[in-house]
């Protein structure tokens, strides 16, 4: 399969008030295949969100390169944004609009005519189980429903690659399982999906391959089965993480 994402020597440093620098990414190399459901696994502060931020053009890398769906994030950021959909860590719908308007206006930013956008929005909201909330102001939606709306928003322009940053944080167990089903169905459609998570079980259940990162560096990269096989006598991803870093994930 061709690479949907190619990351080479990706580095991000942030200046600190004291004049020093904090290294968020320390030269990451990664290839993600087209149609893959790929997980970035690591603790808070590992560099997962920074990676997603760079790949979605919201953060400028200090060094290195990243190509997403054939476009360079630095040189062709507009083309990258045309080809990706993003589900943020915390739902950020447009509170001044209804749920349907959120989708239709977002589609408009991508040049999709209103009639076509409305039809797509109806279909997506039906698929995601929020059709009855179409005319509701988004403030009236529950956390899980808002997260589904964010998924619909990320999909409305039919992107080639979908990024989800900790999509199940803050969701109750039922909503989390519901979201897993949605992701499995998107994956079955052949979409490339990149998600970050710090839930081992989620990564294990959903992802084709996983990159375990910590302190901005890649510690391990493989399928969940192969990663677990690295633990002597077989084990869990938690045990693997402890053996790699000497500490627990959460």
């Amino acid at each position: 399969m061709s690479a949907a994402i190619h990351i080479s020597g990706l580095r991000k440093e942030y200046p600190t008030p004291g004049g020093g620098t904090v290294i968020a990414l320390a030269g990451l190399d990664l290839d993600i295949a087209s149609g893959e459901l790929f997980g970035l696994l690591g603790p808070n502060g590992a560099g997962k969100s920074t990676t997603i931020g760079i790949l979605t053009t919201r953060i400028r890398p200090t060094a290195g390169s990243a190509v997403v769906a054939g476009a360079d994030v630095r040189r062709s950021s507009v083309a990258v944004r045309q080809r990706i959909g993003v589900v943020p860590q915390r739902a950020n719908p447009d509170l001044s609009l209804t749920a349907l308007e959120n989708l239709v206006f977002h589609a408009g930013y991508f040049g999709i005519p209103r009639v076509a956008a409305t039809a797509r929005a109806h279909t997506l909201m039906g698929t995601l189980g929020i059709a009855d909330k179409m005319r509701a102001r988004v403030g009236e939606l529950s956390g899980g429903q808002q997260q589904r709306l964010m998924i619909a928003r990320a999909l409305i322009h039919e992107p080639r690659v979908i990024f989800l940053d900790e999509p199940t944080v803050g969701l109750d167990p039922q909503a989390r399982l519901g979201l897993w089903e949605i992701l499995r169905s998107l994956h079955a459609d052949g979409r490339t999906i990149v998600m970050t998570t710090h839930y081992m079980e989620e990564a294990d259940q959903l992802c084709d391959r996983l990159a375990i990162i910590d302190h901005g560096a890649l510690l391990a990269l493989d399928t969940p089965v192969a990663l677990k096989a690295r633990v002597p006598g077989g084990g869990t991803l938690d045990e693997l993480f402890i053996s790699l870093t000497g500490r627990e994930l959460d």
């Binding site: 931020g53 979605t56 053009t57 919201r58 953060i59 400028r60 507009v78 083309a79 944004r81 045309q82 990706i84 993003v86 943020p88 915390r90 950020n92 719908p93 447009d94 509170l95 001044s96 609009l97 308007e101 959120n102 206006f105 977002h106 408009g108 930013y109 991508f110 928003r153």
Partner: protein, 247 residues
């Protein structure tokens, strides 16, 4: 843009209440009550109306950009969907400024007839330079939209109240809105010190086009100053916006 127009249309009554209430109250007290009570001379209304229009259009422009921006970048992150749109990020900032200009024009169009109705006949008021008046309105609103964008993207949500206390309030009172700039002739220090205040040029520009027979700053000086201020604040605003939008 269509999104912002939809939101503005939906929230128009609140927008009007927020932006024109204070100027209209000022008109009622200083333009209607005090002249009738004999505390100010009738011709004060000639100096007051253009100034109040200037305050309305500049305040609405600055508020309509700065307040949502503080919220967007701070708590709600609502602007994220536009930052993920396949357009150059500076265009998102420019669109915000265009909406600020539109709201400034609406405020001016509401306050002008309302002020005239409340104050009664105003000596020297003319609409003979409507085209120039619109140009000064657009230039003034654009300048203050840029200031709003700069403040909104440079300051945090917790400092927004402070911004109005220490920047906007002095700007209004020392902006030659409630008195003409030439009226400061007896106080030369004040007359030249207030020239750093962008509102002075909008207020004097309004006097130049609406009450041209009254003493006012030359229109060329007004336009020149506003063009320079617009360029300067736009550059500052877009740089500040980009710094907030891209990590």
């Amino acid at each position: 843009m269509r999104r912002d127009v939809r939101v503005l249309r939906r929230e128009l009554p609140f927008f009007l209440l927020r932006t024109v209430m204070q100027p209209l109250l000022f008109i009622v007290v200083f333009g209607y009550m005090l002249p009738r009570m004999g505390f100010v001379r009738g011709e004060y209304t000639t100096a007051l109306l253009p100034g109040v229009i200037a305050v309305s259009l500049t305040l609405s422009a600055v508020q309509s950009v700065a307040l949502p921006m503080v919220q967007d970048f701070g708590h709600t992150k609502e602007i994220e969907d536009r930052l993920l749109a396949p357009i150059p990020i500076p265009l998102v900032a420019v669109e915000k400024m265009v909406m600020g200009v539109l709201q400034g024009i609406i405020a001016a169009l509401v306050v002008l007839p309302a002020g005239r109705l409340i104050m009664g006949p105003i000596a020297g008021l003319t609409l003979g330079h409507a085209g120039t008046a619109l140009a000064v309105t657009i230039l003034g609103a654009a300048t203050f939209s840029a200031i709003g964008l700069w403040l909104g993207s440079a300051i945090g949500a917790t400092q927004i109240g402070l911004m109005f206390s220490i920047i906007v309030a002095p700007m209004i009172f020392f902006g030659c809105a409630y008195y003409p700039w030439r009226g400061l002739d007896p106080i030369p220090i004040a007359k030249y010190a207030v020239l750093v205040n962008p509102l002075v040029y909008v207020a004097e520009g309004m006097r130049a086009v609406l009450t041209p027979e009254m003493p006012h700053m030359p229109l060329a000086a007004v336009v020149g100053a506003l063009v320079l201020l617009l360029a300067g604040f736009s550059a500052l605003a877009i740089r500040s916006f980009l710094r907030r939008a891209i990590g």
